[in-house]
């Protein structure tokens, strides 16, 4: 049996779960969570069901951009160990099918968000998808080691979209939440890149460690972590955060700095500190946004 025949057989065996995997469910869950926090932190309220549909629309939009990213990057995903088992390189879903799936869901999610909330939120979602797929995946990713610095904006939009869905505007507080995710993204991904740089090297994606070297990456991780520490405290200057958030953000920020410092001190041979920082960075983002949620709940019920 030729390879082509084997592949066409495997395409016929694609189940719904393979298409679901195109939506990057784990990224989607973080998007849902941060968008939800943006919604809750915003003043006023939205009908619970309209809020739920808006979250669904944002989730589908994020998933759609994930599918379009896999459509565009199928060639390099096949080579990298971290992504080799994604549906397209695994031979489960045709590349064109993934593209159509992502394009269709993109349009659907934007229309749905326009119906359930307002045009600003829908416009921001459309821009986020465009930014992630065209600006990040197509233009920046393979061209510059600043790829994820600028591309990180795409992942930072969800709380702003959630906020806009409730209020119809996007004030400074929403952009502070944007800034936290934006500044969090580089140390998060560079920690990963430090121990996966062989992968990126092989496919020619210019991640920071393989372009500027290991030492420069460690320095930049530490630098961003210091800025992130202060950005994490910025909500305290507004009325969306109080004592609970202050304690959480200080503790989590200090923890992030500690792990980043360990990476800074580390050696290229030892991947331990970078792996720990990568793990903690996810915990950090989750914790900081959870603190905002708790803060609002306490304000509401106490």
């Amino acid at each position: 049996m030729t390879d082509n025949a084997a592949k066409s057989d495997s395409y016929a065996l694609a189940g719904p779960e393979d298409f679901f995997d195109l939506l990057k469910p784990r990224v989607m869950s973080l998007v849902v969570f941060t968008a939800f926090v943006g919604m809750v932190a915003a003043p006023g309220g939205i009908h619970p069901l309209l809020g739920l549909v808006s979250i669904l629309a944002i989730a589908v939009g994020a998933g759609a951009s994930g599918a379009l990213n896999m459509w565009w990057d199928a060639d390099i995903d096949a080579v990298m160990s971290r992504t080799a088992n994604r549906p397209i390189p695994a031979g489960k879903v045709r590349r064109g099918d993934a593209g159509a799936f992502g394009g269709f869901l993109s349009a659907l999610s934007v229309v749905l968000l326009a119906l359930s909330s307002n045009y600003l939120a829908a416009g921001l979602l459309a821009f986020t998808i465009f930014f992630y797929v065209v600006i990040y995946s197509m233009i920046l990713k393979r061209a510059t080691p600043q790829n994820i610095v600028i591309g990180g904006a795409a992942g930072a939009f969800p709380p702003v979209i959630g906020w806009a869905a409730v209020t119809g505007n996007a004030p400074l507080e929403a952009w502070i939440l944007f800034a936290i995710i934006f500044l969090w993204t580089p140390p998060h991904f560079w920690a990963l890149a430090l121990y996966k740089q062989g992968d990126y090297e092989r496919v020619g994606v210019p991640m920071m460690p393989n372009v500027k070297g290991d030492a420069a990456t460690r320095q930049q991780i530490l630098a961003y972590s210091i800025i992130l520490f202060f950005a994490g405290l910025a909500p305290l200057a507004t009325n969306i955060a109080g004592v609970i958030y202050g304690i959480a953000a200080t503790g989590l920020g200090a923890g992030f700095l500690w792990f980043a410092y360990k990476v800074y001190q580390g050696t290229p041979e030892d991947h331990g500190p970078a792996k720990k920082l990568f793990g903690f960075s996810i915990f950090y983002l989750f914790g900081v946004f959870l603190a905002l949620l708790i803060e609002k709940a306490v304000k509401y019920y106490v």
Partner: protein, 51 residues
């Protein structure tokens, strides 16, 4: 070699049914969501508006 296509054929039909069912359920959910959103956005005052 000769038996394999038949097995994968049955499996392929099963998977196709699963995909079709998933699409049908998604469409039904989408219709329900648009219906509910429409009702909520129109609100109770839709009957009172003056043309």
């Amino acid at each position: 070699m000769s038996e394999e296509p038949e097995i994968s054929g049955a499996e392929a039909i099963k998977k196709k049914k699963q995909r079709n069912l998933a699409i049908a359920l998604s469409l039904a959910a989408f219709i329900l969501v648009v219906f509910l959103v429409t009702i909520l956005r129109l609100g109770g005052s839709v009957a009172d508006r003056s043309f």
